[in-house]
């Protein structure tokens, strides 16, 4: 039996800023994981990755990674993506800094 497909999001880093970004269902990039498109189908995931890679000149290191559905959109399933979504734990830098400025 094939293994069940785990839902995915597409993530990368912004070319100019270097920060973590997510591919949305409107073919744009957002800094917020909650705005990422959660892809539930395996074949669809590959197609969406190809679509995202059209931006390879503005965006660096595009990849698919596991996520799950949460109350406010996708949530990480692994601690690495959790840290990428927030920023480092020693300073309130990265995404958490921006959030504090809102």
């Amino acid at each position: 039996m094939p293994r069940p497909f785990t839902p995915k999001i597409i993530t990368a880093n912004d070319l100019l800023e270097g920060d973590v970004i997510y591919f949305t269902d409107t073919n744009s990039w957002s800094r917020e994981l909650t705005e990422a498109e959660l892809i539930e189908d395996e074949a669809e995931a590959q197609l969406r990755l190809l679509e995202a890679e059209k931006d390879a000149l503005r965006v660096v290191g595009i990849y698919l990674t596991d996520a799950k559905s949460g109350d406010n959109g996708p949530e990480p399933t692994h601690f690495r993506e959790d840290f990428r979504r927030t920023g480092p734990s020693n300073y309130r830098h990265g995404k958490q800094e921006a959030a504090a400025n809102v």
Binding site: E17, F79, R80, S89, N90, H93
Partner: protein, 554 residues
């Protein structure tokens, strides 16, 4: 200190201009990331977890005040106000923007600093004893040789595309403060018939296959240094495996072929290569040496020092832990701890960098060093200046008296910054330091090195920590493995694994149990953790770490 000549300056200017054009072409889309990546890595620019990271070399760990101020400027103007000093005598900036990096490199070039060969499969920044030219036990200042190696290796056409990165460390003292046995090549100054030369060690390294280097030459005349290094690298370039990234380091070449075969091949090439050196390298060395004339140390008595030492327990505690013996009895080597309890090991703010630069100017003959232990050193301070220096350090949060103690932890950036990490290192280091500060046990425990890496690459030197901690990913959860008995000095040793790893919230209590066990096992307050471990072995520490397992056996 080495000063760039016109050639060096022009070389850097040209190199930076080239990179500026490459960045522009990446931004306007004429270069793809695949084309651009090797170019940015050649200039020390990585892409990490949350942002870019720029790695700047601090050759053999030596800086003057202006250079330190330039590092502060970069932190303030183009980063988030701080920099991270590493175990390879580099500084890393964690938040630069792609567009700004050429400006950062230009600002560095103005003071003779750069990011060349801080990445890639080349000869990396040559590291050295951070007490060079100041230590009482030193035969010869190793830095002119390090500078010679740097000039020879920079853009050396034969060694730009090695199988893997290549690291050289050099020390001029019998006490090894440069971890020479954990480098691809380690050079240790030794004397034969009163003439200093080098003991050459090859094939050491940390990473996934930690190995202690082997002596390939017990005595190499100084004049033969470059042809001999060339021969070692040429043999490595020939035999080194390129089929498997993890087996590409020279340590594997030495392991697979045996040190005797490697030695034979090196000696054979050495015969040939030596002939190609016509002595210009020795002339260059003489020229370089002239830049390393030691400062003219001032005289004067040390009364103020002795008075403060007697009167002020805070000063005394700092003096006892953070000073080392200088070759001049009226001077001291000062280690400034950038490991305040609860802070990120190795981080300094722009204000702190400036303060250290000013203090080096006022009290330290304008010289600073960065140690592989991630601290900053003022190598020459007259003892009468120590009380004033200490007071000034206090004002900047730089007077922590913990050098060589349990909170003087080496920690790699781990999952908080590093794209290769499998777990975090920094918060573990912060919590251990804070915990032992609360317990007020640190000075009682005495000399103890804890070293932490966030993955098997071992940037945090955990294999050679008395207590080594390696962060791993166990089914999506952070897990920490402990090794004991590692040693980074002239008696180098790789630590031994204790057993199963610990979850994130179990690792600090586990370290605490190790320390409690040590305190009950040591035969006197003078016996260090490492000595106790060597005397009693692993078992009592294992019992302390895994009490449940003991119960099951019983």
């Amino acid at each position: 200190m080495y000063k760039y000549n016109d050639f060096d300056t022009a070389f850097l200017a040209e190199r930076n201009a080239q990179f500026r054009a490459q960045v522009e072409r990446r931004i306007d889309g004429s270069l793809t990331e695949d084309e651009f990546k090797p170019l940015r890595l050649m200039n020390g620019l990585y892409l990490q977890l949350h942002a870019y990271m720029l790695r700047v070399a601090i050759p053999y760990g030596t800086l003057n005040s202006d250079q330190m101020r330039a590092l502060a400027l970069l932190a303030e103007k183009w980063d988030k106000g701080y920099g991270h000093f590493t175990t390879r005598q580099n500084i890393q900036y964690n938040w630069p923007k792609l567009r700004d990096v050429p400006d950062m490199l230009d600002a560095l070039a103005e003071v003779g600093l750069h990011a060349i060969q801080t990445s890639g499969n080349t000869i990396r920044n040559v590291t050295s004893d951070h007490f060079a030219a100041a230590a009482k036990d030193e035969l010869t200042d190793p830095r002119p040789y390090a500078e010679l190696i740097r000039q020879w290796s920079t853009d050396h056409p034969e060694f730009q595309f090695l199988g893997r990165k290549f690291k050289i460390a050099i020390t001029g003292s019998s006490t090894d403060r440069a971890v020479t046995r954990a480098h691809d090549i380690g050079l240790r100054m030794v004397e034969r018939d009163g003439v200093p030369g080098f003991e050459v060690i090859v094939g050491g390294g940390l990473g996934r296959t930690p190995l202690i280097g082997k002596v390939i030459r017990d005595y190499l005349p100084q004049a033969d240094l470059l042809p001999y290094l060339e021969s070692v690298l040429a043999v490595y370039n020939l035999l080194g495996r390129r089929d498997n990234k993890y087996k590409a380091r020279i340590k594997i070449t030495v392991l697979e072929n045996g040190i005797d075969t490697i030695r034979e091949m090196v000696e054979e090439r050495f015969e040939e290569r030596r002939r190609a050196f016509d002595g210009t390298d020795q002339l260059l060395l003489e020229e370089i040496k002239a830049h390393f004339t030691p400062p003219k140390l001032r005289g004067g008595n040390v009364e103020t020092y002795l008075a403060a030492y007697d009167a002020d327990p805070v000063f005394r505690s700092w003096a006892d832990t953070n000073l080392a013996a200088h070759r001049d009895d009226n001077h001291a080597i000062v280690t400034i701890s950038i490991k305040a309890h609860g802070q990120t090991p190795g981080d300094a703010t722009a204000a702190q960098m400036r303060a250290m630069a000013d203090l080096a100017e006022r009290f330290g003959y304008n010289e600073l060093r960065i140690s592989h232990e991630q601290n900053v050193i003022l190598p020459h301070v007259h003892k009468s200046d120590l009380p004033a220096l200490h007071a000034a350090l206090k004002d900047h949060g730089l007077a922590t008296a913990n050098v060589g103690l349990i909170s003087d932890i080496i920690a790699c950036p781990g999952m908080d910054y590093c794209a290769l990490a499998t777990a975090r290192s920094i918060p573990v280091a912060q919590e251990i330091a804070s915990r032992f500060d609360e317990l007020k046990l640190e000075h009682d425990v005495g000399h103890l090195q804890i070293k932490i890496s966030g993955c098997i690459n071992a940037c945090g030197h955990h294999h050679v920590g008395h207590i080594g901690i390696l962060g791993l990913d166990r089914a999506g959860v952070e897990n920490y493995q402990i090794t004991l008995g590692g040693d980074a000095t002239e008696t180098a040793a790789i630590g031994t694994r204790t057993g199963p790893g610990f979850a994130y919230d179990e690792i600090v209590p586990a370290v605490e149990r190790l320390i409690t066990a040590y305190l009950s096992l040591r035969d006197s307050a003078e016996e260090t953790f490492l000595q106790t471990y060597r005397r009693v072995g692993m078992d009592p520490f294992k019992a302390a770490l895994y009490p449940e397992a003991q119960k099951k056996v019983a």
